[in-house]
């Protein structure tokens, strides 16, 4: 569900804010956080992004590995350069591409910590809605619309997948 939340949020931002993803088009980027057992695959294509689970031996253009603190900081809009300088991020591939993805993630301002604290399996819609906090920059005006979009789309959370294993038993 975290992947779906992130995917929908990123696509909503791309669509409604005319964010140029040309530089990311046809790029496949892996992002992993060992402490959460989280392996995400971002595939940019046709002006949208798919967020899927990354498997070993998957062909990727850029591989980003980061620790828990850096991952959470990324969603709070921390400086990507500073995270690199502090050796909290390990990048294999184009740093520019990684930076573009990081910029996009920072725009979402998803409160990952809150998501982490609630994720022990299926969650209900209002919890997801609360977890989306768009408080920054040009995304600010979208706060209401994106929450509504997500709530409208994700009406199925009571029957939703319980595949958030990277959160289960990892954070508390």
């Amino acid at each position: 569900m975290f992947r779906l939340t992130l995917e929908k949020t990123l696509n909503h931002l791309i669509n409604t804010n005319n964010i140029d993803t040309e530089g990311l088009n046809n790029k496949t980027i892996g992002l992993s956080v060992d402490e959460f057992n989280l392996k995400l695959l971002f595939m940019f294509t046709n002006s949208r992004v798919f967020v899927m689970e990354m498997h070993d031996q998957q062909n990727i253009d850029v591989d980003i590995k980061l620790n828990k603190t850096a991952f959470l900081s990324l969603f709070k809009g921390a400086s990507f350069e500073e995270l690199i300088e502090s050796d909290e991020i390990d990048i294999n591939g184009s740093v520019k591409t990684a930076q573009q993805l990081a910029d996009l993630i920072a725009l979402t301002s998803i409160d990952v910590e809150e998501l982490v604290s609630h994720y022990t399996g299926d969650i209900i819609a209002h919890q997801l809605g609360k977890s989306i906090k768009l408080v920054k920059g040009k995304a600010n005006n979208d706060k209401v619309s994106i929450v509504e979009t997500l709530k409208n789309d994700l009406t199925t959370l009571l029957v939703a997948p319980s595949q958030s294993r990277f959160f289960n038993n990892k954070t508390h």
């Binding site: 929908k8 009406t155 029957v159």
Partner: protein, 246 residues
């Protein structure tokens, strides 16, 4: 008898399966939506909503809804793609298409195209669609591998395939309850609400004969898709396979 395949728990000639499935859907078409609501207690609508929410379909997209039946997904895809997009509802069964036409008109939706087509030989150019979707249809297809290859062919590069289908229940206790419900109550409900117990017996059987989550994922990847993952819904009663043409 030549080469055989399953039709529910029966083994039938490969050439005959399509006609037998047609018979089932001709019989259930009139009460299809009602029976879906009764059998799933309305949950099929949530499963379908989840599928659409996961599809990443956006304004201007071209969507092919295979085995689209009574059109409940097509209506929602139509809303998502907006006036600049296109939705084609295809089904092999003319009775189901007829129900779809009526249903869409009842919902005031007139800009969906209807095509009677076999999923194993889709009458569309290569690289046409941004999304191909099939909900509760794949298990009725005789040659699923061919159908998946066809779906791959008609998708654009970067396009997304969504397969919503009954699958393998994860929990043993739930599986026992589900088996009891499927084989004892569903056919009875079919008899009661649709006057057709036999077709709903086939439904229960066909679900058990359908490939499980991992097997279907392998089949999707073998059909040429570069990425595929699935999400179990309602404990694996159904699964959504999402695949990308890379």
């Amino acid at each position: 008898m030549g080469k055989t395949t399953h039709f529910g728990y029966q083994q039938v000639d490969v050439e005959k399966k399509q006609g037998l499935v047609k018979g089932v859907f001709d019989s259930v078409a009139d009460n299809y939506d009602l029976m879906n609501d009764v059998m799933s207690m309305g949950t099929h609508r949530l499963w379908k909503n989840y599928t659409i929410a996961s599809s990443n379909v956006t304004e201007g997209d071209k969507v092919l809804d295979i085995a689209g039946g009574t059109g409940d997904l097509a209506i929602k895809y139509r809303k998502k793609v907006g006036p600049s997009g296109q939705v084609i509802l295809s089904d092999i069964n003319s009775s189901m298409l007829e129900e779809g036409r009526k249903n869409l008109l009842d919902h005031g939706v007139i800009d969906v195209e209807f095509v009677q087509a076999n999923a194993e030989s889709l009458p569309f150019e290569d690289n046409t669609f941004d999304c191909v979707s099939i909900a509760f249809g794949l298990r009725n297809v005789t040659h699923k591998n061919i159908a998946l290859e066809q779906m791959h062919r008609v998708l654009k590069k970067g396009g997304c395939l969504m397969v919503l289908e009954f699958s393998k229940v994860e929990n043993e206790m739930l599986e026992k309850l589900y088996d009891f419900y499927s084989f004892n109550l569903i056919p009875k409900l079919g008899g009661l609400f649709a006057d057709d117990e036999q077709s709903y017996q086939y439904l229960a059987e066909s679900i058990r004969k359908h490939p499980d989550q991992e097997t279907l994922k392998t089949m999707v990847l073998d059909a040429g898709f570069g990425l595929c993952e699935y999400h179990n819904l309602s404990g694996g009663i159904v699964a959504v396979h999402k695949a990308i043409k890379t």
